[in-house]
Amino acid sequence: MSENHDHLVERVNSDFELEEVSTAPVSEEGTRSFGTQLLGFWVTFRTMFKKVNTVQYPEVKEPTAPRFHGRHQLNRHADGLEKCIGCELCAWACPADAIYVEGESNTDENRISPGERYGKVYQINYLRCIFCGLCIEACPTRALTMTNEYELADDSRSKLIFEKADLLAPLRAGMLMPPHPMYPDMDETNYYKGDVLGSHPSQEVKP
């Protein structure tokens, strides 16, 4: 790039022919009557008597819309096994590259999810996440869903990288903490179809 700009530098403003711009005040056509002006104030006045939408957050918290995109959750099957199979499709779908997943093999001694594979490492970086929900659409097992939780502010960047333990759904009644074996006589297809409705006594791992 060695264009010659000298011809521009040498010229001063007076070299250019500037168009005359009128600086006279602009007057609007017609005048507003006092009645018309009062009508405008009426909107203001009426609003003073309406119910206020503002709430005193954080003392008062309003529920979000039911489909609000909040923090993610990694769901469990009814017996407590994790639904996540570590397939990385969420990470693949993510337009912000906010998700990091590492898969691992399930073994008889260490079964975390039904089937062959589970997610060993699962991280969502909420500094990057744009809450678009494409990861939820990509998830083949409905393992990843979004909650309505929106209070994600924190005081350090590292705290905003959520690990698997932060994202996993809590154990509900009838669920057992993995690792534990699969429900007897059920395969992973049964799990996906929702045939497993709770844990079986044989799934409890005795210490």
Partner: protein, 789 residues
């Protein structure tokens, strides 16, 4: 050194013109329709078709409409099995509704029994079935019945998993194993919907090339155990690279996730490895990420313990320890060309000596003369194997020591019945597969057998590094070549050796094939390096350097990537080395770092750029696969030491070294003369004595294979091989243990009776329970005592 193109271009080939989708295309006779279409840029979907395998027409995905001279085939035809013919009109899915519908139908059939487990499948994201189901399949299946299921996955070897549900029966893996590798351990069993890939009950899938079946599987039916569930294609940063294991010079693709190599695939290079590689090259890379990697410089303190030091401190200690001393340099086979050049220049310019040797193995003076006169600067290529009328193997087991050379020999044996002759003491598995003529000799008696061979000017003599272990063998090879004009190719076992030879990391040669003895070559190089003069005395060999260090004649050693136990029994000499000042450039702790005064950590191949020179003399350049590594190359460290000692070698980067090495060029003056050596007489054997012969197996206990258990699981079992006659004399059968001993130690292994010279006994050189140089102190040609356990 650039390999010449094949003579094939001068052959007259009939050309045939046909019409595909309304476009004329002219291709050589015998071309398949599917390839002719590729030439036009028309992609016909396919699964079983592979350009390097025989056509089989198993998957039926490539159906097209064909008519010849106006006569149409009544049904769509598989374009991967039909060769072109004059007057042929082909309509692919692009112009024919019939072909399009047929392909769609085949895809629907293939998907009937294919499980919907793409999310857990390792192939997901790079799967030809996934991709072509999207391009030529339909969104909905009309099949609502139950899919065929199998138990999944099953291990067909410790390294390979088979998921039979996913298999679409394209027979690529079975054809590869049979046609390319010659290991027909897997086959198609059963019929109809139950047809499946299976292994023979009594033979595990222990092929050295099994990894290729994973790579060519068009679905996720065959997957590698080590890469199972590790990553998705989009996670991986792929870098074209070169293999650091053997001198075949395979081009590879290294896939890295977050600074860690997760897998390596065979790269495509038609002139070298075609599309294949061996399992060692594919899977042995975990040594680089092992927990005991050296990461910081270390200095031995007054108590004799290594302590962590900073780079400036370590450099100061090295500089003080090396300056003004008589020194020697030992470079291992892992060095790249640039690193070896760095060592070579460092020895001459900084240490002022020719005492340098890259051969960390059993060597001889005869070999050094052979390398300087016949090998350096020469270029025999894979294409020469393709053209040879016969190939003679001397001290070389292609399958174990250079697997891609084996594949090329196998290809020519299969294609045109190439005659391969092996001069050895034991008929190896590889040579049996090649159908080689086995010339059985006692260990040490190779020279006489070589002398009686009849070759022509179109023949090839492939000489392995073990030829140096038999006195007179290399002299006999040179004499044979002089008599018959057969070409000689030297195929070392390790990737760095040929490059180190070209770089002059040996006592009688300077970089670029300049002989140390040639004064004009020395002056030429001194001018190029801008130094006063170069040392004129021929340097000591590796073994002599060790001996001189023990005798106190050499006071300082720079050792990079050498395991002293590879070369000779250095048990005692290692401790004696303590009197010398030893600088060790290493990746991981070794026998040398245990005694070294300063240990400097170096980068592995994946962490640096550089190049290897394969046995052909062909440069195999590669870039760093792991970005932003903090590790420094040997070259960079040597340059730092040289700077510290105020004798700069000016090789701060790989690029600078490559540029300088290219600029000094190959010496066009006279080459060194070969000095012939007479074979030594064989010792007389007693009843319980045998002559030892051995080689390293491809998969053994080499340091670069550590940390990969799945790979080690496919290694051949360590056995002691004896002849039938000896087995009868000892009263042993297959499986009985025998002990093999020298004065230094004993190796006990189960017996296997095979075709081997009656005087010989074979042991694996570095396998589990059989570390010959460390235990017995000898590797070949020596007398050992054989007793039944």
């Amino acid at each position: 050194m650039t390999p010449q193109m094949t003579e094939q271009s001068t052959e007259v080939v009939d050309m045939i013109t046909l019409v595909i989708d309304g476009f004329d295309v002219t291709v050589p006779k015998g071309t398949l329709v599917i390839r002719a279409a590729e030439k036009l840029g028309i992609m016909i979907p396919r699964f079983c078709d592979h350009p390097l395998l025989d056509p089989v027409g198993a998957c039926r995905q490539c159906l097209v409409e064909i008519e010849i001279n106006g006569r149409a085939f009544p049904k769509p035809q598989a374009s991967c099995t039909i060769p072109v013919e004059p007057g042929m009109m082909v309509k692919t899915q692009l112009t024919s509704a019939v072909a399009e519908k047929a392909q769609r139908g085949v895809m629907e059939f293939l998907l009937i029994n294919h499980p919907l487990d793409c999310p857990v499948c390792d192939k997901g994201g790079e799967c030809p079935l996934q991709n072509q189901a999207m391009s030529t399949g339909q969104g909905e299946s009309r099949y609502s019945g139950k899919k065929r299921t199998f138990e999944k996955p099953i291990n067909i070897s410790s390294q390979i998993l088979l998921d039979r549900e996913r298999c679409i029966l394209c027979a690529r893996c079975t054809r590869f194993s049979e046609q390319i590798a010659g290991d027909p351990f897997i086959t198609m069993n059963e019929r109809g919907a139950l047809q499946q890939v299976g292994i023979y009950e009594k033979q595990p899938f222990e092929s050295y090339f099994s990894g290729n079946t994973v790579q060519i599987c068009p679905v996720g039916a065959l997957t590698g155990a080590s890469y199972r569930f590790r990553a998705r294609p989009f996670d991986l940063v792929s870098t074209p690279s070169a293999c650091e294991h053997c001198a075949s010079g395979c081009s590879l693709r290294t896939d890295v996730r977050r600074g860690k190599t997760l897998r390596r695939l065979a790269g495509e290079d038609a002139q070298v490895n075609e599309e294949w590689n061996c399992d060692k090259g594919r899977w042995a890379f975990k040594y680089a990420t092992s927990a005991d990697r050296l990461t910081t410089p270390m200095i031995r303190d007054a108590d004799g313990e290594l302590r962590i030091a900073s780079w400036p401190e370590a450099m100061a200690v090295v500089a003080a320890g090396l300056s003004g001393k008589k020194a020697g340099v030992l470079v291992g086979g892992r060095a790249t060309l640039e690193d070896a050049y760095g060592y070579s220049k460092f020895a001459r310019v900084v240490l002022g000596t020719n005492n340098i040797d890259f051969r960390s193995r059993v060597t001889s003076e005869e070999e050094r003369s052979f390398l300087a006169s016949k090998v350096v600067g020469s270029s025999v290529t894979y294409a020469d194997i393709d053209r040879a009328d016969s190939v003679l193997l001397v001290g070389f087991e292609p399958e174990e020591e250079s697997p891609i050379v084996f594949l090329r020999l196998k290809k020519q044996v299969r294609k045109r019945g190439l005659k391969v002759t092996a001069i050895a003491s034991k008929l190896s598995v590889g040579n049996a597969k090649l159908g080689s003529v086995f010339v059985s000799v006692a260990p040490g008696a190779e020279a006489a057998a070589i002398a009686t061979q009849e070759l022509t000017a179109k023949s090839l003599i492939l000489v392995g590094e073990r030829a140096s272990e038999s006195a007179g063998a290399l002299s006999a090879v040179v004499a044979l070549s002089d008599r018959t004009e057969a070409k000689i190719a030297w195929i070392p076992r390790r990737a760095g050796e040929r490059g180190a030879l070209e770089a002059g990391a040996i006592g009688n040669l300077l970089p670029g094939a300049r002989s140390v003895a040639d004064i004009s070559a020395r002056i030429d190089l001194a001018a190029a390096w801008d130094v006063e003069a170069l040392p004129s005395e021929i340097g000591l060999s590796g073994e002599e350097i060790f001996a001189a260090a023990n005798a106190g004649e050499i006071e300082a050693l720079v050792i990079g990537g050498v395991d002293p136990l590879d070369a000779m029994a250095h048990h005692d000499s290692l401790t004696a080395l303590k009197q010398a000042f030893v600088v060790s450039l290493e990746i991981r702790p070794s026998a040398v770092t245990k005694i070294a005064d300063v240990v400097l950590p170096v980068a592995v191949v994946a962490e640096k750029s550089g190049s290897f020179i394969n046995w052909e003399g062909r440069p195999r350049a590669f870039e760093a696969a792991v970005a932003d590594s903090l590790q420094r190359s040997d070259l960079r460290i040597l340059s730092m030491i040289a700077d510290e000692m105020s004798r700069p070698i000016g090789l701060a980067s790989v690029k600078a070294a490559a540029k300088e090495f290219a600029s000094i060029g190959t010496w066009d003056g006279s080459k060194a003369e070969f000095t012939s050596v007479a074979p030594s007489a064989l010792p007389a054997l007693k009843e319980d004595e045998a002559l030892l012969t051995s080689w390293r197996r491809l998969l053994d206990e080499g340091t670069l294979q550590e940390g990969e258990e799945n790979l080690a699981g496919t290694a051949r079992q360590p056995v002691a091989v004896i002849s039938r006659k000896r087995a009868l004399a000892l009263g042993v059968v297959d499986g009985d243990a025998i002990s093999v001993s020298t004065e230094q130690g004993t190796v006990v292994l189960p017996v296997l009776v095979e075709e081997i010279h009656d005087d010989a006994l074979w042991l694996p050189r570095n396998s589990r329970g059989s570390h010959l140089l460390a235990t017995l102190g000898v590797a070949s040609g020596a007398l050992v005592k054989v007793v039944k356990e």
